[in-house]
């Protein structure tokens, strides 16, 4: 099971802060995103936004990285702290 978190504007756009997906074969972050869109077609325009950032196990990641069972994935807009 992979846990997926959404933050800030994206969390509001999706009306979702957390979801889980069963991964049966090795998948990239990009694949996980495609699976999420397959399950929730109306998420496509938000999850395909080129400016979105992604973190794998709380470290910034690239969509080509492999996700394993038990991982925590997070999608969010560019950060604006400070």
């Amino acid at each position: 099971m992979v846990t997926i978190l959404f933050f800030a504007r994206l969390r509001e756009q999706l009306s979702c802060e957390k979801t889980q997906l069963e991964i049966t074969a090795p998948a990239t972050i990009g694949h996980v995103r495609d699976l999420l869109i397959l399950k929730n077609p109306h998420w496509a325009e938000f999850l395909n936004s080129g400016s979105l950032l992604v973190a794998l196990n709380q470290t910034m990641a690239k969509v080509s990285q492999i996700v394993s069972d038990g991982d925590e994935l997070a999608f969010f807009p560019p950060v604006t702290g400070g």
């Binding site: 978190l5 933050f7 800030a8 504007r9 509001e12 400016s51 973190a55 709380q58 470290t59 910034m60 997070a74 969010f76 807009p77 560019p78 950060v79 604006t80 702290g81 400070g82």
Partner: protein
């Protein structure tokens, strides 16, 4: 030290903690970021700060580790507030104690530039014209590339 907290901080107390009894540090540089009254053309009433618990602390520690590898830092402190903030409230504190001012100034600027582009915080602005998420700024991304 890194602290993510709702409550305000006392700049004097933070300075004293950085300076302490440490006579090696000839320079203490501190920066405080605050909620200002005007962003673009909108009148701001306050801010909500959201973060990613766990990743926030990890990413700030990575930024601090990188700063410590670049400059001789004796002591450091980063505080970032979360939750509801009002006009004029403190948002962020970055302080560095070092032997010399050049290193202390550079380290604080580096920490702020990296914090603004790498630490998972998001600000929502409450204005007289409604509430909206603040967009990341090109100038911040640019500032972080100079290091």
């Amino acid at each position: 030290m890194i602290s993510i907290q709702q409550q305000d901080f006392d700049v004097g107390a933070e300075y004293n903690a950085l300076a302490g009894q440490d006579t090696r540090s000839g320079a203490v540089v501190t920066f405080v970021g605050r909620v200002r009254d005007l962003n673009l053309t909108r009148e701001v009433l306050g801010l909500q700060v959201e973060h990613y618990p766990g990743m926030t602390e990890k990413s700030l520690q990575a930024i601090v580790d990188e700063a410590c590898a670049r400059w001789p830092i004796n002591r450091h402190k980063i505080i970032h507030r979360i939750g509801d903030l009002h006009l004029g409230d403190n948002i962020v504190f970055v302080g560095v104690a070092s032997a010399h001012r050049e290193d202390a100034f550079a380290a604080v600027e580096f920490l702020m530039d990296y914090l603004k582009t790498r630490a998972p915080f998001w600000k929502k602005e409450l204005t007289t014209e409604g509430n909206h998420w603040i967009d990341a700024q090109e100038k911040d991304a640019k500032a972080a590339t100079r290091w």
